[in-house]
């Protein structure tokens, strides 16, 4: 999308930056950290390196201004226009300006300094706006409090200017290599006969009649759910999926998050207050019993009576021989619980109460 005339870019890959002044709304250290993380968004995917300088003006100067500050783009304290930046060039080129009268935050409230800085630095490095709604360089700020991952469109365009990063660990953006043997998952669940794996902001749907898994963004189905779940399970008797993150639980039916959620796992399931998160969960369809795995212990919850069974927690290894470690993910398929720990899966036979197969997970994806 060539709107930036003759594609201005920096001719060097090592750039310096300086911070001229600060916003009264955030501690200095928080401002400096937000700006440092914003630079890292771009250095992660290009050969560019950024160094903060103190005694002199950097190639890129970041500063807060009030009203007209004599650069043709006056601020007015409103939400119409509160940050801008200049394309690569000597002098004011590359500089980032913020509205001093705007409320800057480091959380989900408007406006998040890290996110706006990452966007403006895109201009500082030569990028124009993108027409990809998911892109960081989309003209409107689309910040949400999820874990930020640079979009593939942004990666493609900045690498068109500076080339790929020399760092072997590439940020994958909108693509995920499910055959990467080092891959681990945030959560796995079944849903109406499918198996859905969750990683960062992506879901991977394994549908029996499709040769390859479907990979896409969780946002597309559940825009209000956070990414990076801890656990998920299907409560098939009520056709619900339940997602866990920290001490919160979300219940969804198809694309709809049920009213009143997220709820607290202590009040909803009756966990003791010292349980701060759930590692993995699975509901045994035949019995209606849901198993919650936390560290080396597990609880059992009766979906019909909606109460925890007495006599729990118990040691996982005692009742699931061979599962002698924490459980990252678990789901049921036919007579088996599939336990995942790091990138290994164990198939636990619910009849014989033994592991009858172990290996890596790639068979699910026809790697």
């Amino acid at each position: 999308y060539a709107i930036t005339h003759n594609n201005p870019r920096w001719s060097k890959t090592h750039l310096t930056y300086s911070i001229l002044n600060y916003t009264p709304y955030l501690p200095r250290a928080v401002v400096e950290d937000a700006i440092e993380r914003a630079f890292r968004v771009w250095s992660d995917v290009t050969p560019l390196t950024f160094e903060r300088v103190f005694e002199k003006e950097g190639d890129i100067v970041l500063s807060f201004h009030r009203g007209d500050h004599s650069d043709l783009y006056p601020f007015d304290g409103s939400k119409d226009h509160f940050a801008h930046a200049f394309l690569p060039a000597p002098g004011m080129g590359g500089d980032v300006h913020y509205d001093l009268d705007q409320k800057w935050t480091d959380n989900s409230e408007n406006f998040n300094l890290f996110y706006v800085t990452a966007h403006e630095l895109g201009h500082s490095l030569g990028l124009s706006h993108s027409n990809d709604e998911e892109a960081l360089m989309y003209p409107s700020y689309t910040w949400s409090n999820k874990d930020f991952v640079l979009n593939q469109d942004d990666i493609n365009r900045i690498q068109a200017l500076y080339g790929p990063s020399t760092n072997p660990i590439q940020s994958t953006g909108a693509s995920l290599d499910v055959c990467n043997s080092g891959l681990t998952f945030d959560a796995i669940t079944t849903y109406r006969g499918e198996v859905i794996f969750f990683k960062d902001r992506f879901y991977i749907r394994v549908i029996s009649f499709l040769p390859e898994p479907m990979i896409n963004m969780i946002d597309l189905i559940w825009p209000t759910l956070p990414g990076k779940f801890d656990a998920a399970y299907e409560s098939s008797m009520v056709d619900e999926l339940r997602f866990f993150k920290g001490s919160k639980v979300w219940a969804v039916q198809e694309q709809n998050v049920l009213e009143g959620f997220p709820m607290d796992i202590h009040s909803y399931f009756g966990f003791p207050s010292n349980v701060t998160h759930i590692d993995a969960a699975v509901c045994e369809e035949e019995t209606g019993k849901t198993y919650f795995f936390v560290d080396h212990m597990y609880w059992r919850y009766d979906e019909n009576t909606r109460s925890m069974d007495p006599g729990y927690p118990r040691l996982i290894a005692e009742d699931f021989p061979g599962i002698n470690h924490k459980v990252d993910d678990v789901f049921q398929k036919e007579d088996y619980f599939y336990f995942f720990y790091q990138s290994i899966q164990h198939r636990f036979n619910l009849q014989t109460r033994r592991i009858d197969d172990s290996g890596d997970f790639s068979t699910w994806f026809n790697c």
């Binding site: 999308y1 709107i3 930036t4 005339h5 783009y73 939400k79 119409d80 226009h81 509160f82 940050a83 801008h84 930046a85 300006h97 408007n110 406006f111 706006v116 966007h119 403006e120 201009h123 124009s128 706006h129 027409n131 709604e133 003209p139 409107s140 700020y141």
Partner: protein, 79 residues
Amino acid sequence: FPVIQDGLQKNVKTVWKYLENYYNLGKDMQAKNVNSKEVMAEKLRQMQQLFGLKVTGNSDPETLNAMRKPRCGVPDVAP
């Protein structure tokens, strides 16, 4: 401003200011013998294309909505 459908004064200002700030509207309007209606519609089409909106050349509700979202101060179309 024939391209403005709902005629609300506020919307007129929103659209004009937005296109002036981010799509060079003001400068193009100064040229002589300009068909202001067509210039305005063309700018709106440019904006609608970039934002992935239906390209109508009119300031329809979706377009007004997009214009009201917090956004970056860098113009979408550089002079």
